[in-house]
Every structure is written in structure tokens, then in C-alpha cells.
């Protein structure tokens, strides 16, 4: 079957099976920043923005996204560049497998929350697991990005 999605502001028509998840459809169509982590929506690695809100694409049927806006990190390259520089400044990137999805979620959080407290930041990002960094450097970088008004 064919599904119409708006991916990174481009109209796309994807061929898929009714049971396909968005994660697999996106990867098949070369949106390779979206990756598989846990299969059970616990790790956040497969996060995409669904009409601007972060959702796990491993459990979202592609057909359910018909007509909706899907954003991957490929669609927010300028903001990702900014976030990436703060990550570099703070030593927050290790294996990086979770970083595109974390960057997307941080980007969405900046739009959604005004002046969030440390606790609100942690709560917003709690679904983005990281096994490498111990989170501290990430949070330093994220706070600097949130304070960046450029």
C-alpha cells in the first residue's frame, strides 16, 4: 500500500505493508538517523517528531502517520549543528547512537517548555536512555543550548 507523509517538510509517498512500523519505513527510505534500540519504546533511539512532538517510531504504524508531519534530524540540520557544538564543548558525545534522537527531543523541548527547571528537563528527556555518558555532560550541553537565543 501507499502512504503519504510529509517528511522534513517534503511530501513523500512510501510503499509499505499495513503492519510496517514507521522506523522501518523511514530506514528503508534512507532516513538513516532513525535507528533501532530496544523494540519496546523504552530507549528513545528511534524517536521522530510527529507533528512536532517526540514519539518512538518503533511502535508507530506507518499508516497511522498518513498525512502527518514527520521530522527527523535530517530535517533540523541547523539546530542539530548548534546542539552538536554544545555537545562537543561539553564532551557529551560518546558512541553517539542515541544522539540524533536526543537532539530531536531537545529541539522539541526547547519549543515546548519555556525556561524549564533541571527537573523538568530530566522529566522531558527521561525516555532518552544513554549507556555511555552518565548523562551529566549531556545535561550541561543541553542547558547551554536552551540558553542560546541565536
Amino acid at each position: 500500500m501507499l502512504v503519504n507523509l510529509i517528511v522534513n517538510n517534503q511530501n513523500k509517498v512510501f510503499s509499505c505493508e499495513p503492519g510496517d512500523f514507521l522506523l522501518d519505513t523511514l530506514r528503508e527510505n534512507n532516513y538513516l538517523s532513525v535507528r533501532r534500540g530496544c523494540d519496546t519504546t523504552n530507549c528513545g533511539v528511534c524517536t521522530v517528531l510527529f507533528d512536532g512532538k517526540p514519539v518512538p517510531s518503533c511502535s508507530l504504524l506507518t499508516v497511522k502517520a498518513e498525512g502527518h508531519h514527520i521530522t527527523t534530524v535530517e530535517g533540523i540540520q541547523k539546530e542539530a549543528e548548534k546542539i552538536g557544538k554544545y555537545f562537543g564543548d561539553e564532551g557529551a558525545d560518546q558512541c553517539g547512537y542515541c544522539n540524533p534522537s536526543l537532539a530531536l527531543t531537545v529541539y522539541a523541548m526547547k519549543k515546548e517548555l519555556k525556561n524549564p527547571t533541571d527537573e523538568e528537563i530530566k522529566e522531558y528527556l527521561v525516555g532518552n536512555l544513554c549507556r555511555c555518558t552518565g548523562y551529566i555532560a549531556q545535561e550541561r550541553a543541553i542547558k547551554k543550548y536552551l540558553g542560546d537565543k541565536s
Binding site: 552538536g84 562537543g88 558512541c95 551529566i136
Partner: protein
């Protein structure tokens, strides 16, 4: 130093964050056959028959593989150097399955759905055997897990499969029983540590294709590409000349990707069909069918005299290697070799025990590699002894612990499956680490506890050491090429799995060549294109591979000076090089840019290229002191980690940001093991904790504050004074937490993880006494 010991951005962090294709599955051929395994539902069984007729007839199914399709060659998946200190006790597929999740049949099909459909059509008849699940009852059990006659060890490791013993070991210095009988104070305690899952974010992933030279090219998320090439070649009887292993970007390993997982099946499918193939483990497979940490029972006896001198350590250990013996002996030895030397002033010491088979998911390499288990036992026991003696545990450690320029006889006795290497501690800043840690945590104000209502604040600590590579065994090498316009390629076998080794090795090269990191283009871990490296394990990359890069860069510098001397018509000793300009004493100059352009295009053209190797002659340990501050709720038993202070002696930090990241990440992984991570099985051997729903790892909400500092330290045998930093951070959290819980409540938890349930039960027991 301009580049080293500076906070350089990682060379690949930005591109990866922006979503560039980088990881193994990003690079899979789009037409890859999907390879999946049918896995055993039984902890122990013999396959009586496999009916794969329907699966084979299903359109789109390319191959159905059973044990009958593979050469019967035993090997070890451990991913170690050769000969391995692990038993050759595994076949690609076997007539016996030895744990729930063991491979029974493999299917290659055109897509996921067809592959899964084919798996569901395969009928396997099992003779279900009674499993051995309790590792304390494995030795000389009537059930033998490995009865097959072909299996063997490569050199004596105490391998006795008929007794369910994968390996065994014993060592002693002096008569420990006699010393203990003469001690004024003796404690004798038993500790248990659980299996922990690695939970790297990228699952085990591999893909393969044939190239236009009819060679097998395998992309794999591995820590050991060169070992993989060797092991695949011998186990599948594919000529090694026909195999190329490429390690793309890896999404975390922690030891779990040192070993072979899907590589054998995918290599075989592509080799036999000529078609590209891939296998991506589901998270369930990562939990059930890869590896976890060796669970252990440790019986520790300590003896001290009235003056507070630790005189003897007697350490008996039983380790559970699960269904296969990967890393059985070596992890076991590290329990002793990277823990016991912390207390080097003892008169006698003994370390011994067995590593046993059980019908559970195999144990393998995991950051800490035995040291975290041994540290929990010894550093808990030391506090117990101190409380019995009424001595301050920090004063006791300051008196008895390893100090700079000292040594321990254990270094010479215990290596990695073999004898060790004697060495003095040229750098050991443990005293500074302990002192600074006390200040940072506020020990004097908080020890042992501060009570308020139902909350109790307390502190606890532990000291630790690790190693820096395996001396005389682990080799790293580096090739540096000079390009036109004066930039370099750095080709290294070293395996960046996310820890940042590409970055720090480029920093080392740039420092020697007096250039900037952007002029050093790094390419790593490709068995065709890069020189050999043992891989990312044993905390070896900074020290071993770093020394190789240092040597190569020095040789490149000399090669450049030699060419400049020719151009400037002078002697090499007469040429000064500042990284950009080469100057002779008579004032003639040539820029590196001009020189390199001439070398390519116009004047005695040649490619400047150097390759250097390094093998360690010692393994200088990094040291650290870990301090935890907790708030503990007496009503619920809940523990809140308020702060974790790490003060680390890893020599020079090549990149302080990445070094901090290594320590912080390891501390949090260690806290996970200390507090709640626990691989659990049902009574019939099925893993219960086989998803991230049932197996919790620390989230950012669990981690409030980490305080990490590095003390000044310079190890002259290391590159720019560096030792290792990858593993040391994981060792202290279990003991530091156990000690803090004791300091808060007067209860001692000797079995990890330290959960609220255990705390409450212990409190109840204490109240009932």
C-alpha cells in the same frame, strides 16, 4: 602541550549527531538477505530431529541451516588474541542446545516477514534434558553440560568439562592460613554478585557482501575486527585472504562486542550464496543470546594485627560462565590480579577457585572484567574489618594501600590466563585521590551519618585499580601518511566503539607533529587498510595503541626532517621543525606544505609513510577513590544517590572531556549494578529480564550529581604520560554503596544489587535480634 590534555571536540561527534550514516546497519546492502536464528526454548536439550521442509519450500527462503551444515570445528567466540585462554567449546550450531536462546537453526530469506514465517514453520523435536542452573551445584553434578569429545583448551587453563569446570586457578604467596591463625582480628565473609547486562544502545549487528574480487566483506559492530577475521576463517574454513572485516562506527560495546555473535551465520550465508546478508539482533536476543557479566560467589577472609596492619587476604571465588566458557579464566583472574594488589603490604595472600558451566546465557567480557566483582567483595570486607577493629576505614586504607614506587608480588604471578609481569608503581596517586575525595564529598561532616526525621544521610567509599593493556600480548600499530599540502592520514587498527579513541589517537599524533587535529584524518579498524590492533578491550587503547601512534608520529617527524635536509642541502640534525616550517641553521626554510607538494609532484617524488607498533612491557594501573553520598529512607529502604565523587589517577588525560565521560559513564553503569540491574531467570532457566521493560538501567532522573576530578600524574611509559581510563570507573560503586548503607543503618548487604527490599529485610532482621 597544545593538543594533548586539551578539551578537543571528538572528530566524529558532530556528524553523528547530525544523523550521518555511520553504524553497521546504515551501511548494509539494501538487498541483503535477512538472517535470523530459531532459538532454544529449553535450557538444556538434545535435538532429536529438525523438520525444515516447509520452511525450505517457502518462496523467498534462501537457506535453512542446521548443525549438519557446518564443519564440526570447535572454537571460542571470545574474540581474544591467539592462542586464546578460553576453551574451544562452541560450534557454530550444535546437536545440543545449552541455554534458553541458544541457536538451533538459522534462516536466510528475502525479507523479515518471510524469515520469521520460515522460522515458525520449522519443527524441532527435542530430548529435553535436566539443566544445571545453580552455579554453586555445578561442579561434579551428575549432569554434564559439555560431554562432546572434540572440545579442548589451547593451553592448560584447568579445563575439566566432565566436572562442568571451564577453568580453574590457584595462587598463593606464603602460608595464608598460618598468618590468619596468628592475627588479632579476622573477618570471614561471603559475597555474591549478579549477572549484569551490557545494554549498549546499538544491538549486535553484522552484514556481509561479496566484492568484485570475490572476497567476503563483513561489516560488524565489533570491538575486535582482526581477531574476528582470524576466528571466522578458521571456524568456517574460509581462506583468511578472502575475508575483509570493517568496523564502522559502533554504538557502544562495554566488552559485549568483543565476542562473535551473528558474524558466523552471516559470513556463512554470504559465502555460500554469494548474496549480501545481514543480521540485527532484537533487544530480546541481545539480552538472552549474547552475554552478561559473570555472577560470582566470593569468600573473603582478612586478618589484621592490633596496630591496624592488614596481614593476610584469603580469597576464594566461584564464577558462573554460563553455557560457554568465553573469558572464563581471564575474568576470574582479574578478580584477584586487579584488586588484591591494592593492599600490597600483606604478608600472605591466596586466591583460588573454579569457573563453572551452567545452562544459562553465557558470561563474557564486560567493563571491569572481574575487578568490579572482586572490588565489591574486598572493599566491603575491609570496611567490615575496620568496624570490627574500631578503626577508621580511611585511616586503615591509607596505612595499608598501595603507594607510589611500591609493588606487589601478584603482578609477576597473575597475568591474563598466564603468568604476569613484575612492575613497580611508577605512578600511584591513591593517597591524593583519597584525600581529595574526602574533601569533595565532605567526609568529615557526613561520616558515618547525619540523621534527620526518616531520612539518613551517609557516605561510603572504596578504592580501585585496573590495568592498561595486557603486557607482552596486546599489540597496537599505526600508519601515518603525509599528503600534499601537509596534512596526514592516521590509519589505526584500534577500535573506536564510542569511547573516543579515534579522537585521542589523532590528538597524540597532532601533538607529536605539532599540528592541529583537523590536519590528522583518522581511519580505523579495517583489516584490509589499517595495520593490526588487538582491539578495544583490557583498557588497552590509550596506552598500547596510543604508544604506537606516538612512535609512528615521531618516525613521521623524522622522515619529514630527512626530506627537508635533502631539500635544504644540510644535515638532518641541522633542521628545525615547528610543525609548519622546516628551517636550517643557515636560515634556509621550506614549508611543510611546499615540501609535501614537492614529494608528490616535482622533486624526488615519494610517499612518506611510516608504520610503528607497540606492545606493552608492563600494564601501569590507573587508580581511583570513589565516594558516594546517599540519602536513605528508613521507611521504604529507598536510596537516593546525592553525589558520587571520583578522583582518578589515569596519568595524563589525553582529552579531559572524554576522560571525564569515560569515568562518569562507568560510574553510572557501576551504580546500576550496585542498585538494581539484575539478570534474572525463571526456575526453568528462562531469562525474565529480557527487555528494557524488565531490565532497568539508570536514567537521567536517577543521576543527580557526579563530581569527577583527575589528580596530577605522569606515567613515563605512557603516551604523553597517559594510563588507561576506560574501565576503572566502574569498580567502586558497589562497595562504596554497600559501605554507605552500613554507615547509615548498621546493616551489611553482601549480595548485589542493593535494593530497597534487601535493605528493609535486613533492617527487620536487625530489629528482631
Amino acid at each position: 602541550m597544545k593538543v594533548v590534555n586539551n578539551k578537543a571536540h571528538s572528530v566524529d561527534g558532530l556528524g553523528i549527531l547530525k544523523g550521518r550514516a555511520a553504524y553497521t546497519d546504515d551501511l548494509a546492502d539494501k538487498n541483503s538477505l535477512i538472517v535470523k536464528a530459531l532459538r532454544s526454548p529449553h535450557a538444556y536439550a538434545r535435538i532429536k530431529s529438525i523438520d525444515d521442509k516447509l520452511a525450505k519450500e517457502l518462496p523467498g527462503v534462501e537457506m535453512v541451516l542446521t548443525y549438519k551444515d557446518f564443519p564440526r570445528i570447535p572454537f571460542t567466540r571470545a574474540g581474544q588474541g591467539y592462542p586464546e585462554p578460553s576453551p574451544y567449546d562452541k560450534f557454530v550450531l550444535d546437536e545440543y542446545v545449552r541455554y534458553v536462546g541458544d541457536e538451533v537453526v538459522a534462516v536466510a530469506a528475502i525479507d523479515n516477514e518471510t524469515c520469521e514465517k520460515a522460522l515458525s514453520l520449522i519443527k524441532v523435536e527435542y530430548e529435553i534434558l535436566e539443566p544445571v542452573l545453580d552455579f554453586e551445584n555445578a561442579v561434579d553434578n551428575k549432569i554434564i553440560i559439555h560431554p562432546e569429545p572434540e572440545i579442548h583448551d589451547m593451553f592448560p587453563i584447568g579445563f575439566e568439562p566432565k566436572r562442568n569446570i571451564a577453568a580453574s586457578y590457584k595462587m598463593h604467596v606464603g602460608d595464608v592460613e598460618k598468618t590468619i591463625s596468628e592475627c588479632d582480628y579476622v573477618v570471614n565473609e561471603t559475597f555474591y554478585t549478579q549477572a549484569q547486562a551490557h545494554v549498549m544502545m546499538e544491538p549486535h549487528t553484522v552484514n556481509a557482501r561479496m566484492d568484485y574480487q570475490e572476497r567476503l566483506v563483513i561489516y560488524s559492530a565489533t570491538q575486535t575486527p582482526f581477531h574476528m577475521r582470524r576466528i571466522i576463517s578458521s571456524a568456517l574454513e574460509i581462506p583468511i585472504t578472502k575475508i575483509r572485516f570493517i568496523k564502522p562506527r559502533v554504538g557502544g560495546g562495554f566488552g559485549g562486542k568483543q565476542a562473535i555473535h551473528g558474524e558466523m551465520l552471516v559470513a556463512w550465508v554470504t559465502w555460500k550464496t554469494g548474496k549480501p546478508a545481514k543480521m540485527v539482533f532484537t533487544r530480546k536476543e541481545v539480552f538472552e543470546s549474547s552475554y552478561s557479566r559473570h555472577p560470582m560467589r566470593m569468600d573473603v577472609t582478612l586478618g589484621a594485627d592490633k596496630s591496624g596492619k592488614l596481614k593476610a587476604i584469603d580469597f576464594k571465588c566461584l564464577s558462573d560462565t554460563g553455557a560457554y566458557g568465553e573469558h572464563a579464566l581471564t575474568v576470574f583472574m582479574v578478580v584477584g590480579s586487579k584488586v588484591l594488589p591494592l593492599y600490597n603490604k600483606v604478608e600472605t595472600v591466596r586466591f583460588h577457585g573454579d569457573i563453572v558451566y551452567t545452562n544459562k546465557t553465557p558470561a563474557g567480557a564486560f567493563r571491569g572484567y572481574g575487578a568490579i566483582q572482586g572490588n565489591f567483595a574486598l572493599e566491603s570486607a575491609v570496611d567490615i574489618l575496620c568496624h570490627k577493629m574500631g578503626i577508621d576505614p580511611i585511616e586503615f586504607r591509607q596505612k595499608n594501600m598501595m603507594k607510589e614506587n611500591e609493588t606487589s608480588p601478584i603482578f609477576a604471578i597473575m597475568g591474563e590466563g598466564t603468568e604476569g609481569t613484575a612492575m613497580d608503581m611508577e605512578t600511584c596517586k591513591l593517597e591524593e585521590c583519597v584525600q581529595r575525595g574526602m574533601e569533595l564529598i565532605g567526609w568529615k561532616d557526613k561520616y558515618p551519618r547525619v540523621e534527620s526525621n526518616n531520612k539518613i544521610k551517609s557516605v561510603g567509599m572504596a578504592i580501585a585499580m585496573q590495568g592498561s593493556g595486557i603486557p607482552y600480548i596486546d599489540m597496537g600499530s599505526a600508519t601515518i601518511k603525509l599528503n600534499d599540502q601537509g596534512f596526514y592520514n592516521l590509519l589505526i587498527g584500534a577500535t573506536d566503539i564510542g569511547q573516543g579513541s579515534d579522537t585521542i589517537l589523532a590528538q597524540i599524533a597532532a601533538e607529536v607533529l605539532m599540528t592541529t587535529i583537523d590536519k590528522v584524518i583518522v581511519y580505523s579498524s579495517d583489516t584490509d587498510l589499517t595495520p593490526f590492533d588487538c582491539g578495544a578491550y583490557a583498557s588497552s587503547t590509550t596506552y598500547v595503541s596510543g604508544n604506537a601512534v606516538f612512535k609512528a608520529a615521531m618516525n613521521m617527524k623524522n622522515a619529514i626532517i630527512k626530506e627537508a635536509a635533502r631539500v635544504l642541502e644540510t644535515q638532518e640534525a641541522d633542521v628545525e621543525f615547528d610543525g609548519k616550517i622546516l628551517t636550517s641553521s643557515n636560515g634556509k626554510t621550506v614549508s611543510l606544505e611546499d615540501l609535501s607538494n614537492q614529494l608528490f609532484y616535482s622533486n624526488e617524488q615519494k610517499q612518506l609513510s611510516v608504520t610503528s607498533s607497540y606492545v606493552g612491557h608492563k600494564s601501569p594501573p590507573p587508580f581511583m577513590a570513589g565516594f558516594v553520598e546517599i540519602d536513605i529512607d528508613k521507611e521504604t529502604g529507598e536510596v537516593d544517590i546525592v553525589d558520587y565523587v571520583s578522583v582518578v589517577d589515569c596519568g595524563t588525560t589525553i582529552n579531559p572531556l572524554l576522560a571525564e565521560g569515560q569515568v562518569n559513564g562507568a560510574i553510572v553503569q557501576g551504580l546500576g549494578m550496585a542498585m538494581f540491574e539484575d539478570v534474572k531467570y525463571s526456575s526453568n532457566g528462562k531469562m525474565i529480564s529480557n527487555s528494557l521493560i524488565n531490565y532497568k538501567i539508570p536514567t537521567r532522573v536517577d543521576i543527580k550529581k557526579l563530581t569527577t576530578e583527575f589528580v596530577d600524574s605522569y606515567e613515563t611509559s605512557g603516551p604523553f604520560g597517559a594510563k588507561s581510563v576506560g574501565e576503572i570507573g566502574i569498580d567502586t560503586p558497589p562497595a562504596a554503596l554497600a559501605n554507605a548503607v552500613y554507615n547509615a543503618l548498621g546493616i551489611r548487604i553482601n549480595a548485589l544489587p542493593i535494593t530497597p527490599e534487601k535493605i528493609l529485610l535486613s533492617l527487620k532482621e536487625k530489629e528482631n535480634k
